[in-house]
């Protein structure tokens, strides 16, 4: 029997992408097998994302515009929120739940025994493909609102949109990493994803509604501004490059912080006894 050899010798990037692709494949196969997920995950998720618009609607009934945002712009913002909710439910939360489950059962050890970055492996340990429905609907909403809103979006604006969209995605994953790092030490863990989800709800509101410390919180610490307000502003042609720069810095800082905490947590890992 051959031992100690037979490896393909790919670089780390190629290996991790391959690992994520394998996981996506498994998740898609599972999703196709349990087709009720279309309703319970896709449709329901979409309905509640849209249902949560009610407070916004209430506010709009009594004000012509909201903190400088017109109805069309708010429509784009809501579309971005629906996309965010879908990305979270489909590509962040399942991995978090699965990893927390593994920590509780003590089987995270096996993840740590594999020659992959455990953070990437944990975040990518499960996916819910049916949430794509929410994402597609969100994109539709954004496009529809953009058509209705006056103002041109040219290549510069789309470039800005691309940058902040990526920064927002990275920041969301970084928040997920933070949650994982914390969950190494705290053991009753459902609360943590619940916390993230309820905070996420504030991403519906334009960032200009918040003042002072809360505004700073939602722009730089739990940066919902980057995930919803900035993309909508980019499409409306109102995003400055300074803000884009700030978004990149924030996303990178969050990733750095998360990885730092994660490394610390690993070092003091006590590995639940068998």
């Amino acid at each position: 029997m051959i031992s100690g050899s037979g490896f393909m010798g790919h670089g780390p990037l190629r290996r991790h992408l391959g690992l994520l692709a394998a996981q996506v494949r498994v998740s898609v196969l599972a999703a196709l097998e349990y087709r009720t997920g279309f309703w319970s995950q896709g449709v329901m998720g979409l309905l509640w994302s849209l249902g949560g618009v009610i407070p916004l609607w209430v506010a709009l009934e009594h004000r012509a515009e909201l903190a400088g945002w017109s109805v069309g712009e708010l429509g784009m913002l809501t579309g971005c929120y629906v996309i965010l909710a879908g990305v979270f439910a489909g590509f962040v939360q399942p991995g978090l739940t699965e990893t927390m489950d593994q920590i509780r059962r003590g089987t995270l050890d096996y993840v740590l025994l594999r020659p992959n970055d455990p953070l990437v492996a944990s975040l990518g340990s499960a996916f819910e493909p049916w949430s794509l429905l929410e994402i597609v609907a969100g994109v539709g909403l954004v496009i529809a609102s953009a058509i209705v809103t006056p103002g041109q979006a040219g290549p510069v604006e789309f470039a800005q949109l691309a940058v902040v969209a990526v920064a927002g995605f990275v920041a969301l994953q970084a928040l997920g990493m933070l949650v994982l790092a914390i969950s190494f030490r705290a053991l009753q863990l459902e609360n943590l994803t619940y916390l993230m989800e309820s905070l996420l709800d504030f991403a519906r509101w334009p960032i200009t509604v918040f003042r002072g410390p809360l505004k700073l919180l939602f722009t730089f610490v739990v940066p919902f501004a980057i995930m919803t307000s900035y993309p909508a502003q980019a499409l409306a042609g109102q995003l400055g490059w300074a803000q884009v720069g700030g978004a990149i810095v924030t996303a990178l800082a969050l990733v750095g912080l998360a990885r730092g905490l994660w490394t610390r947590a690993l070092r003091s890992y006590t590995s639940a006894s068998s």
Binding site: M44, G52, I54, I182, F202
Partner: protein, 266 residues
Amino acid sequence: MSRWLAVVGALWKYGVAQALAYRVSLIIWIASTSFPLISLVLWRALAETGPIGGWQQADFDSYFVATFLVRQLTSVWVVWDLDRQIRSGELSVLLLRPVSPILHHAMANLATQPLRLLLAAPLGILVLVSVGQTMAVAEDPRVWPLVPVALALSWLLAFTVQLSVACLAFWLTKAATLYEIYLGAFIVLSGYAVPTSLFPPGLAEVARVLPFHAVLGFPVELVIGRLPLAEAVEGLGLQLAWLTGFGLLAAWLWRRGLRVYGAVGA
């Protein structure tokens, strides 16, 4: 009777010890229920230029601080614990004890209320002081004795709803996800995110008779004095009605579920 009290007392102490075992977890729980305080800031900003639908800034302040405190008192999480216990077979251990697992869970949830209130009340007071308001409370003294009743019914209703959903885990694998759907509806329709009386006309009436509102919106409005006595009593009646309905449902599901659980084996 005294033995039953002793058992309840012991379960209570056990519940408190469990809650205290994980400090970080407790903090996170408090943080995740501070949603109303952020809403407070939001709606203050919106109401800066004038009242919204008859609600002044001061009204929003009282409403959301009250929501925050009431939420601490009516939080239950039995759906996640019980769902996990049913699926993994841990329930068997609880079933072997001469105490009903339901009582066990009820005590575990209740045991944390005083602690959470103790930790949350200063936060609520701090927020009120920093916005320069005092808490509005019900003016009619006849309403005051109704408040503890409403809060108790509210907790019981929240518990029985979660219990019903958790019992579905005897048959379904993803019962907890069903609860997330309930939660999504709750956040909107209970008055957690915005007072139900501000809803568009058709929706407001519907929302105010649903169990979500009975758990949160009603007690909050009762506390801050926005309900005349007649409406308060009506609201209590509604709470009782929902509680009876869900109570019967939970009891039936529990009994049927135990039979299935026993047949399949953990």
